[in-house]
Amino acid sequence: MTEPLVKPKKKNPVLRTRLATLPPVPRSRTALGLTRAAAEGVFEMQVCADCGTVQYPPREVCGSCLSEHLAWKPVDNRGELIATTTLRHSNDLYFRERLPWRVGTVKMAAGPSVVAHVHEDCAEGGSVRLTLKLDRSGQAVLHALPEKDTPNMNDAPQLRESTCDPKFRRVLVTDGKSATGMAVAKAMLEAGANAVFLGDASTWKTVPAFDKLVASDPRLQVVELDVTDTDSVDRLAASIGGKVEILVNTADYLRDGGILNRKDVNLARDAMEVNVLGLMRLAQAFGPGMCFRAADGSNNAVAWVNILSIHAHAALPARGAWSASKAAALSLSHTLRAELRGAGVRVMNVFPGPVDEEWEQLTPPPKIAPSGLAKAIVKGLQDGVEDLYVGDIAEELRTRLRENHKAVERELGQ
């Protein structure tokens, strides 16, 4: 049974902060198929189109019939834990600091025998579930989990290394006054966050629901933050930057309109200021501090969350400038991901369909409730994914983009 995680003690300010180390990165390009599956939170392996053999580790030709027709497909993740061993020594800097480390061999129902990180609640000889997760290097690794959930299983240190669980962590919600921001704050508290900082860019504006939320839990703290104001972002980072372990960028500027129906670029520029340059200002101000604390105890800095939109992938011409800003933010997030990977801080991009909030009033259902979006974000962090698609519309567009992106472009423009 996993020992429940204890609330981390206040940091000893005279001890040197442990710097981030990363697990080794030996993967081939073919193996990046596993990385994609882990990043999206699905369990996929290569399956031979000719003989049906499930392949592991990933390879160029079928291990059984030498066919080159290997496709990534969802496969049965169940198996039997046939042997385990607990590592007590390692010459690798990353593992040395995290010993003991349990590994084992799982005989998968789908065929292959695989080596996996083994959860402490898995009994040798018993049934296990395999899951693909990203390690701190961003590489896909197999974790063997108990067949059914066990109490506090997400608290196991070995699993927590591959996830970004909000439990006992401190979260900055950059726009805490929006419907999504308030919902994210609530969901983080429910998930056991130690503190949630709520950014407020309009302190002059009274929002009763916001006041009610702030009064509801002493873990909530309102902070002044306007992502369009470099000085405001810098001031906040100087004050709480060392405490932010998960940053959720909820700041969004959404206005309707394409290109030709306006005579100016003001709204487009405002959207870029918030959605693109706002992200960049936050990254410059908070990124270095988070990297510095990426291995700092059990409440180390772990995740950067961008709430984008499915229209970051495919423009909605009715909201042309906004779509462009989301696409630009997506591009920027890939750079940020590359820059944070060296410390092991994960960037999770969230791609929702329409959210049920004031600027989506005229959008017909289905729309995602802000609370539903917030719950999905928490689960995404607990699962440790990098790309999270939320809602039927986002899922559908994502599938159709893979099938025929030109068809999607044409249809969204009608």
Binding site: W204, K205, T206, D229, T230, D231, D270
Partner: protein
């Protein structure tokens, strides 16, 4: 031969008998701007990005880029700002005759009334009573309304938003045309975020100060400060907006020359 007038003026300034008072708020990103319903276009607040500061971006020099609207911070309203003033001659900041950037000022202190009532409206009756005490408003003078609004906490108390919008003082719909017709004033200035009251959209006409002042080719100044340092009569205001082609207004430094005795 008597002393040339400007030499005399400089002597008075250097001796301290004439004092300069800065009526300008500092431009900062936090300084509040007027809030319109979110579906309208919005004025940009003041924003600033460092270009270099004696560093690898420019080793020996410090400078910034900044951006803002024509109506951010302490600013000047030109007649072209309002639809009523759109056809007036010389109605934009680049075409206003430069003589109009210097004018005397009357400061009407309504700070006590505004402390009681944030929706205080200046009336003809109030101005007449003020004239009884301080003398008639001279021709082509700025009328500055001292409300002490600049001393309020920024941004919440300053914008003073309620569910029905902003609550801040201003002139009523009768006093503005009266000041123009009966006193031929130069323009109207306030400490709050606009020359009109926070609830002026409910007046008839809406925003009477903008409507009448600009409709008669007069000017506006807002977000002023230090009006409490000026005498009721006798100060001279230097307020020259930036020379923006066809500009509707501009942030500016507003300086008052005031006698110390």
């Amino acid at each position: 031969m008597s002393t040339p007038i400007l030499a005399q003026f400089m002597a008075e300034l250097l001796s301290g008998r004439v004092k300069l008072v800065d009526l300008t708020q500092t431009l900062t990103p936090e300084f509040p701007i007027i809030q319109l319903p979110p579906e309208f276009g919005q004025a940009w607040p003041f924003r600033i990005e460092e270009i270099s500061r004696y560093d690898e971006r420019g080793p020996a020099w410090y400078w910034n880029n900044f951006s803002m609207s024509e109506h951010t911070g302490t600013h000047f309203d030109a007649p072209i700002h309002w639809i009523s003033g759109k056809d007036q001659p010389d109605n934009a900041v680049d075409s206003i005759p430069v003589e109009n950037f210097i004018a005397s000022a009357c400061v009407i202190d309504v700070s006590a009334e505004c402390a009681e009532n944030p929706d205080f409206l200046l009336t003809v009756e109030y101005v007449k009573a003020w004239e009884e005490k301080h003398g008639r408003i001279p021709e082509r003078a700025w009328v500055l309304m001292r409300t002490d609004w600049s001393k309020r906490a920024m941004p919440k108390e300053y914008l003073n938003m309620a569910e029905d919008g902003a609550h801040s003082p201003g002139p009523d719909a009768e006093v503005v045309p009266w000041l123009i017709q009966e006193r031929n004033v130069h323009g109207f200035g306030t400490e709050s975020v606009g020359t009109d009251a926070g609830q002026a959209h409910h007046l008839n006409p809406p925003y009477p100060c903008h409507y009448f002042m600009h409709g008669n080719n007069r000017y506006g100044l807002q977000c002023l400060t230090n009006l409490d340092l000026l005498p009721p009569q006798g100060a001279v205001i230097f307020a020259a907006p930036l020379k923006i082609r066809n500009g509707s207004g501009s942030p500016l430094r507003v300086l008052a020359l005031t006698p110390t005795v």
